[in-house]
């Protein structure tokens, strides 16, 4: 009986500790005990007279192992893909977002992401222990092969794209490239005068899928909308490291869709028992080592000469990281 009594007390302690942890934060580290005060509560509240550190940092997120493990469901992953950035709409506007400078933010990100500590989250490092592997001996390398860019304009003048329209955009684009390839990811990046009618801004900020394009099966493509249409929904902050909140918001979503496509290219590989992929499980969390840019915005990743606020990514060990080399979460 004494033993049972002792075990009970031990269990009591564990239970209380576990209760406290679980009550305080969900898997994304969001404090469940508080009501968020604004939809864009991640945005810094800036006082131009005050030091740049004044403001609210972006949600850091939990450092614990995710409550529902991510597992491989038998499908392949992508190793080292080519990336195609298909710029839809008008990216030469005077609105401060859909500009050539805006395109350069994305191009610089994609041009320097290959092999970065953020991309290595998808691979086996001393920190992650294991990487994303799939059927046929496939494994995510953490690298990108080549990055291609093309301005598309509008599809029949359309500023509201259905899912089928987006597939057509990809189809028309690959026709100019000699056809689609299966080791590529085609991103359709829309200007802020364009929406996607299946739920952009209200249900999603981006998505990825695969399908038959032309006569080629298993072509991977993705939609990422300009967050300038809905900063409260699709951008982490309204003031951003590169001075373009809409496009800086797109970069984080682009990164999210990129790693999801790598680890679940045919929608049959890595996800948890509720369908959440690696990017989903760390969405809208940015880690505990955020820095403040000169304009007062927050960033957590530096690639080349640019700073970015990129959401964390889930490693195959079911933990969210910003950096798979230092282990920064």
């Amino acid at each position: 009986m004494k033993t049972l009594f002792g075990i009970s007390l031990l269990a009591l302690g564990v239970a209380v500790t576990g209760t406290a942890r679980a009550d305080q934060h969900d898997e994304n580290g969001v404090d469940k005990g508080k009501i968020h005060h604004r939809l864009n509560d991640g945005a810094p509240e800036l006082n131009p007279q005050a030091p740049a550190t004044v403001g609210h940092a972006l949600t850091a997120g939990s450092t614990a192992t995710a409550s529902r493990a991510i597992t491989n469901h038998g499908g392949p992953v992508m190793g080292t893909p080519d990336v195609h950035l298909i710029w839809y709409g008008n990216w030469n506007q005077a609105n401060g977002s859909d500009t050539l400078a805006g395109q350069q933010i994305v191009q610089a990100f994609m041009g320097s992401i290959s092999g970065s500590p953020w991309m290595k989250i998808n691979t086996a490092t001393a920190v992650t222990g294991k990487g994303y592997t799939g059927s046929g001996g496939s494994s995510v390398s953490g690298n990108v092969a080549t990055v291609h860019n093309a301005n598309f304009g509008y599809l029949n003048g359309s500023k509201s794209l259905t899912d089928a329209n987006i597939a057509t955009v990809v189809s028309n684009y690959v026709a100019t490239q000699g056809g689609a390839t299966t080791n590529a990811i085609y991103f359709v990046l829309t200007s802020s005068d364009v929406t996607a009618s299946s739920g952009f801004c209200t249900q999603y900020c981006g998505w990825h899928t695969q399908g038959t394009v032309g006569s080629v099966a298993n072509v991977k493509y993705s939609f990422v909308g300009n967050a300038n249409r809905c900063l409260a929904s699709c951008a982490p902050q309204t003031n951003s490291p590169n001075g373009n909140a809409g496009v800086d918001g797109m970069v984080s979503v682009l990164a999210h869709e990129l790693v999801e496509t790598l680890s679940d290219p045919q929608l049959n590989a890595w996800y948890d028992n509720q369908g959440a992929e690696n990017g989903d499980k760390c969405a809208w969390t940015f880690g505990g080592a955020q820095k403040v840019a000169a304009n007062g915005s927050f960033y957590n990743v530096t690639l080349g000469t640019r700073n970015y606020a990129i959401q964390r990514n889930l490693a195959a060990n079911s933990k969210c990281y910003v950096d798979a080399v230092t282990g920064q979460q």
Binding site: A11, L12, A15, N28, R38, C201, Y204, A232, L267
Partner: protein, 189 residues
């Protein structure tokens, strides 16, 4: 996701209808209390319902989850703290006879009133207001799903639910003015 509340521990009192020594009863109380706390921990450890592809959607998902959690706690203060002073619920079958705030709070405290799961939430933000539209599905049993449109308003005190519109989400999809079914590709956010 929405586990039932832990069973209540009905302890015996020393010196009343007790046949065993109080020391033994104390141990039994600790053991039973521990089991109850373990059950509570198991409930609390359930994953949060709040995960959404958009940031606004995630915030509203959390608010809806907190609202259900407050109802499950059967705490009128906790529940009332999430409601605007003029909160009302409007049911499709009686649009001119809204359910008043106090009546709604009392009804939501009834057993099973919060045993629902939020699905398919879409979020729109309009300055200091935000609208969440979603389907409520019964966590247990056969209750028909409901379509809910919640309007939240932000103030210095935080987010408050101003009005809830509810209608049954059953029956065939036909005869809805303006309705067009657009084929969607299988995609992941």
């Amino acid at each position: 996701m929405y586990a039932r509340r832990p069973p209540l521990f009905l302890g015996e009192r020393c010196g009343q209808t007790v046949l065993k020594p109080c020391a033994s009863l104390a141990r039994r109380r600790v053991l039973a209390g521990t089991l109850a706390l373990l059950a509570a921990a198991a409930v609390s450890a359930q994953p949060a319902a709040a995960q959404h592809a958009t940031r606004a959607g995630q915030t509203l998902s959390e608010l809806e989850a907190q609202l259900l959690q407050a109802a499950r706690a059967s705490d009128p203060a906790q529940l009332g703290a999430m409601l605007d002073a003029d909160f009302e619920m409007i049911v499709a079958q009686a649009p001119t006879a809204p359910v008043a705030r106090e009546d709604w709070v009392a009804a939501m405290r009834q057993r099973g009133a919060a045993d629902w799961v939020v699905q398919g939430l879409s979020a729109r933000e309009f300055g200091e207001a935000a609208v969440a539209a979603f389907v409520l599905r019964a966590a247990h049993g056969q209750a028909a799903p409901l379509y809910v449109v919640d309007t939240w308003q932000h103030s210095a005190a935080g987010w408050r639910l101003v009005v809830r519109h509810v209608a049954p989400a059953t029956g065939p999809r036909k005869g809805i003015p303006g309705d067009v079914q657009t084929p969607a590709v299988q995609k992941k956010y």
